[in-house]
Amino acid sequence: MAEVPTYRTPEVITPTRDFLDKMEEMWSDPPGIIGWLSTVDHKKIGRRYLVTAFLFLFVGGLEALIMRLQLAQPNEHMVGPHLYNQLFSMHGTTMIFLYALPILSGFSNFLWPLILGTRDMAFPRLNMFTYWTFLLAGAFMYIGFPTGQGTDVGWFNYVPLAGPMYNPGPGVDIFSLGMIFLGISTTAGAINFIATMFRTRAPGMSISRVPIMIWGTLVANIGILFAVPAVSLDFFLLWLDRRFGTDFFNVSGGGHPLLWQHLFWIFGHPWVYAIVLPAMSIVSQCLPVHCRRPLVANSAVILATILTMVLGFGVWVHHMFATGLPVIAMGFFSAASFVIVIPSAVSVFAWVATIWTGRPVFTTAFKFFAAEIILFVIGGVSGFMTAAVPLDWQLTDTYFVVAHIHYVLIGINVFPVIGGIYHWFPKFAGKMLNEKLGWWNFWLMFIGFNVGFFPMHISGLLGMPRRIYTYPAGLGWGDLNLVTTIGAFLFALGVLVFIVNVVVTLLTGKRAPANPWDGDTLEWSTSSPPPHYNFGVIPHVGSLHPLWEDRLEKSEGRTILHEGLKLDEEHEIPGTTILDAEADVILKMPGKSFAPLIMALLISGVFIGMLLEWWWISGAAMCAMFPALLYWFWPSAEVGRSPKESRA
C-alpha cells in the first residue's frame, strides 16, 4: 500500500455505464491460469479460503467418522492404536487450525471490503500471500499422514511424549514446523485485518457506525497477534529440543514439561475465542436481518466481545487444573473462568431479545443462527462446569470435555458458518441456495449433531477418558458410543446435503437480486455477485444501518450511495482516519502480482529444508527471498504515475 499525499481532490460523480465499464476493466484480472495465480482480488481470495477450509473440514470429518466406527462398540479392532492416534491428532489439528480460523478468514476476506464500503483489503498482496501460505502450510502438515508418519500425540502435543526420546519419528517435526509456518499466514492476515479496519473504511463510517461483524473479526485478530507468538515459540523450542538436543522441556537437562503447557495454553485459550468470536459476530450481524429489526444492545455486545478477548488471555490455567499447581493460583484462574461467562451471557440475551422483539423469518440461515444460540448455551454451561477446579479434576480429559469442545466449535463455529453461507451466498456466488435442501440440511445437521454429541456428556460423566482407541465392555459406555456414532453419521449426511445444495445451486440455481434478505449493511448495496471494483463510487456512510436508515426512526445521518468520490486512476481507494473515518488520503493499491505466490513457495522451501535438514535448501530459499521481495515492492509505473501523466 503506497501512500500518496492527496495531490488532487477527486470530484464527486454519479457513475455512468461507461464509467463502470472502465472500472470493471481496470479491476478485473487477466483470464486463465496467469490471472488465477497472480490475482489479489479479496473476493477471489475469500472464496479460496472458504473452499480450502471446507475441504479440510471434509478431510477432518472423514477422520472423525473412522474413529467413530472404531469406538461404536467395546473392544473393536477396525483400526489399531498407531492409526487411531494419528487420526485423532490429525482430526484435531485439521479442524482447529486448518478449518476453524481459515473459514472465518474466508468470510472476512470476502466481506470486509464490501461491508466497509471499499474496494480491497489494506494490503492486497499480503492478503494473497496469507492464502498461499495457509494452503502450503496445510499441505505441509499433511505430508506425513498418508504414509503413516502423521503426528500421533494430539493437537496439544504435550512433551515429553512429543519430545525426541518418546517420539523420534518425523510426525512431530512436520507438525511443529507446520505450525510455525501456519503462524506466518495467521499473523500476516491479522495485521491486514487490523490495518483494513482502521484505515480503509468508507468515509463517514465512524467508529460507532462499524457493523458488529467487523468488530468480532477485528477483536479476534488483535488477540491472534498476541497469542500466536507464544505457540510459534513453543513449537520452535520443541524443534530445537528434537533436532539440536537443547533441553527446554527435558527434565534431565533442567527443563520442564509444564513450560510447554503454559506456552501452549497462553496461545490455546485465546485461540478458542479467535475462532468463535468472529462466528458469533456473524450471528450478531445476520440474525437481526432475519428478525426484521436491529440487534438489541448492539454496543453492549461489541463491548462484551472485546471483554471476552481480554479475559481470554487470563484463563489458560483452567486447562491445567490437574497438573498440581498451588490452590491459590487455581482459585484465581477459576474465578477468571467464571467471570468470562458474563460477556457471553450478554450476547445470548441480546440474541434472544432480538428474536422476541422482532419478527423472525424462518429461512435456513435463521434456523442455523437460532440453533447456534441453544448450542452455544449448552457448550457454555459445560465450560462453566469445568471452570470449577475440584469438579474439573473429575471432568477433565473425559468425554465430557470432548462434548464441550464440539458444542463450542461446531455449535459456535460450524453452525454460524453454514448459516452465514446461506445468508451471503448471493454475494459469494450470485445465486440463492435452495431452501428446500436447506431444510434437510439444517435438520439433519441439528438432529445429527445433538444425537451424536450430547451423549458424549454422559459417557464422560460415566468416566470414559479421551483419546483411547478402544475400551472394555461393562463400564456402561458401549450403547452411548453407538448412539454417538449414529449421530455423527447423521451429521455427516447433513454436511453432504449442504455440499449437494452448493453444487446444485451453482449449476442450476436462480440468480440472486442485490439484496434478497433486505440486509442493512453496504455489501447488499452492490450487485450479487459484486463487481470486481465493489463500488462504482465510494459510499458515504451516515449510520450504523446504511440500507435501513430511512425506515428506522432515529437514524443519525444519511448514507449516500449513488454519488461519491471519483477514484478511477488505477486501483484507488480512500484512506480514512481511525475514529471519524474522514477521507485524508488517496491510497494507490497494488494490482496483480506473482510475488505473493513466489514468497509463499520460498517459505515452503525454508521449512522443507528444515524438515529434511537439508540446510542448503533453506539457505537458498532465504537468499532468493531478497530478489522476491524486491519484485514484490518494485514500484510500478502505473502506481507511480504523477497526476499529470495519468490524466494525459
Binding site: 492404536p81 494430539g154 511424549l161 498440581g324 440475551f349 434472544v352 454451561v381 475440584p390 473425559t398
Partner: protein
C-alpha cells in the same frame, strides 16, 4: 468430615439420576462414574457436580424455551413490506431484558464460584494425617506401587496395578513419572492428578466402603494409553493388615517339579526385567526393574494394567505373546517351547 453423604441425599441423587436418564438408574453399578462416589476426596466433588449440573440444565432449558417461544411468537401478525416480507421495524428497546439476564447470571456465577472455592479448600487436604503413604510410579503403560509408610512401620514393598487400602483411612499418594505425563484417577474415590516427570505431585484419597474401584490413566501417554487401568481394593483394616503382611513376605519356593522347572525358565528369560523376591539362589536372582514386580502376582486380579483378567489362559497367552494382547509394550514376544511355557506358568501360579 463425613465419609459419605446422608442416606436421604444419596437416594435423592439416585432418583435425579434415574429421572434424568433411564440408564441412570443403573449408574451406581458403573465402575467409572464420579457422580455417585465412595470417598471423602470425591464426595464433595460429586455434590458440586450435581449442583452445577442442575444449574446448567436449568439454564439450557430456560434459554432453549426462550428461543423456542421467541420463534413461536414470530407467528404473530406483523405488517408486511412491499416485497411481502415482514416489515422492518426499529423494535422495542429490549436492552433492559439483557441487563436483567446478565445480573441474574452474575448472581448465579458468584454463588457457584463461592461453592467451588469452599469445595476446593475442603478437599485440598485430607481430614487427618494419612497413616499410609504410597509412591505410585506411572510407566508407559502400567502402574508401579510402592508401599512406603504404614502407621509407624517403615518396611516397604513393591507391587503393580492393584492398590490395597484400608477402609476409612486417608491414603497419601506421591506421584512419580520416569517417562511421559500420565494422570492418576479413580473417579469414585478421587479426582485426577497428573503424573509429571520432573515434579512429584501429591494427592490423597479415602475409601468409605469396602470394594474394588477401577481407575485409569487419563492423560494421553502414547500407543497403549487406552490400556493403562488400575484397581483400588478397599478392605476392612484387619484384612488390609493381613494383605500388607503377606505382601512383605518373599515368594515361597516352588514345590512341584513343573514349577521348579518353571522357576529356572523364569530366571533365564524373565528375571532381567521382573523381580520375584526370594526366587533363585546365590548365582542368579530375579531383581529386574523394567517390568512389574511379580512376587505376589497371583494375589492380583488383572494382567497388563487392567487389560485382561488374571486367569490361567490369559496368563499363558500373556507370557507367550503379550504383543498380541497389548501391542507396543516393552515386553517382547517370548521364544518359549510349549514345555517351557507350561512350566513357567505353573511357576507363576505359585506366586500367591
Amino acid at each position: 468430615m463425613k465419609h459419605r453423604p446422608p442416606l436421604v441425599r444419596r437416594t435423592t441423587l439416585a432418583a435425579i439420576a434415574a429421572a434424568l436418564l433411564l440408564p441412570g438408574a443403573a449408574w451406581a453399578d458403573l465402575p467409572m462414574t464420579y457422580l455417585i462416589t465412595n470417598g471423602a476426596a470425591a464426595n464433595p466433588l460429586a455434590h458440586l457436580g450435581w449442583g452445577l449440573m442442575g444449574l446448567s440444565v436449568f439454564v439450557i432449558v430456560f434459554i432453549a424455551l426462550a428461543v423456542l417461544i421467541g420463534i413461536w411468537r414470530g407467528r404473530r401478525s406483523w405488517p408486511t413490506d412491499a416485497a411481502g416480507r415482514p416489515k422492518l421495524l426499529p423494535g422495542v428497546n429490549a436492552a433492559p431484558f439483557v441487563v436483567i439476564g446478565v445480573c441474574v447470571s452474575i448472581v448465579l456465577l458468584f454463588g457457584s464460584a463461592v461453592w467451588t472455592f469452599f469445595t476446593l479448600a475442603h478437599v485440598s487436604q485430607p481430614p487427618k494425617d494419612p497413616a499410609i503413604t504410597l509412591d505410585v510410579t506411572a510407566h508407559q503403560w502400567w502402574w508401579e506401587v510402592e508401599y512406603k509408610h504404614y502407621g509407624q512401620k517403615l518396611r516397604t514393598f513393591v507391587t503393580a496395578n492393584e492398590i490395597h487400602v484400608p477402609v476409612g483411612e486417608p491414603v497419601r499418594v506421591r506421584l512419580i513419572s520416569p517417562d511421559v505425563i500420565h494422570s492418576f484417577w479413580a473417579p469414585e474415590l478421587f479426582g485426577k492428578m497428573d503424573v509429571i516427570p520432573g515434579q512429584t505431585n501429591i494427592t490423597w484419597f479415602e475409601a468409605a466402603k469396602a470394594g474394588t474401584y477401577r481407575g485409569q490413566c487419563t492423560e494421553f501417554c502414547g500407543l497403549q494409553h487406552a490400556h493403562m487401568a488400575f484397581h483400588v481394593v478397599a478392605q476392612p483394616p484387619a484384612k488390609f493388615h493381613q494383605w500388607w503382611t503377606h505382601q512383605l513376605a518373599d515368594a515361597k519356593q516352588p514345590v512341584s517339579p513343573a514349577a521348579q522347572q518353571g522357576e529356572k525358565v523364569f530366571l533365564h528369560h524373565c528375571a532381567v526385567c521382573h523381580t520375584v523376591r526370594g526366587a533363585g539362589g546365590p548365582d542368579i536372582i530375579a531383581m529386574g526393574k523394567l517390568g512389574p514386580d511379580l512376587t505376589h502376582l497371583m494375589s492380583r486380579h488383572w494382567l497388563g494394567a487392567g487389560t485382561v483378567p488374571n486367569t490361567t489362559g490369559y496368563l499363558a497367552a500373556w507370557v507367550e505373546n503379550a504383543q498380541s494382547i497389548k501391542p507396543g509394550i516393552d515386553m517382547p514376544t517370548m521364544d518359549l517351547t510349549n514345555r517351557q511355557l507350561l512350566d513357567v506358568v505353573a511357576y507363576l501360579q505359585t506366586l500367591n
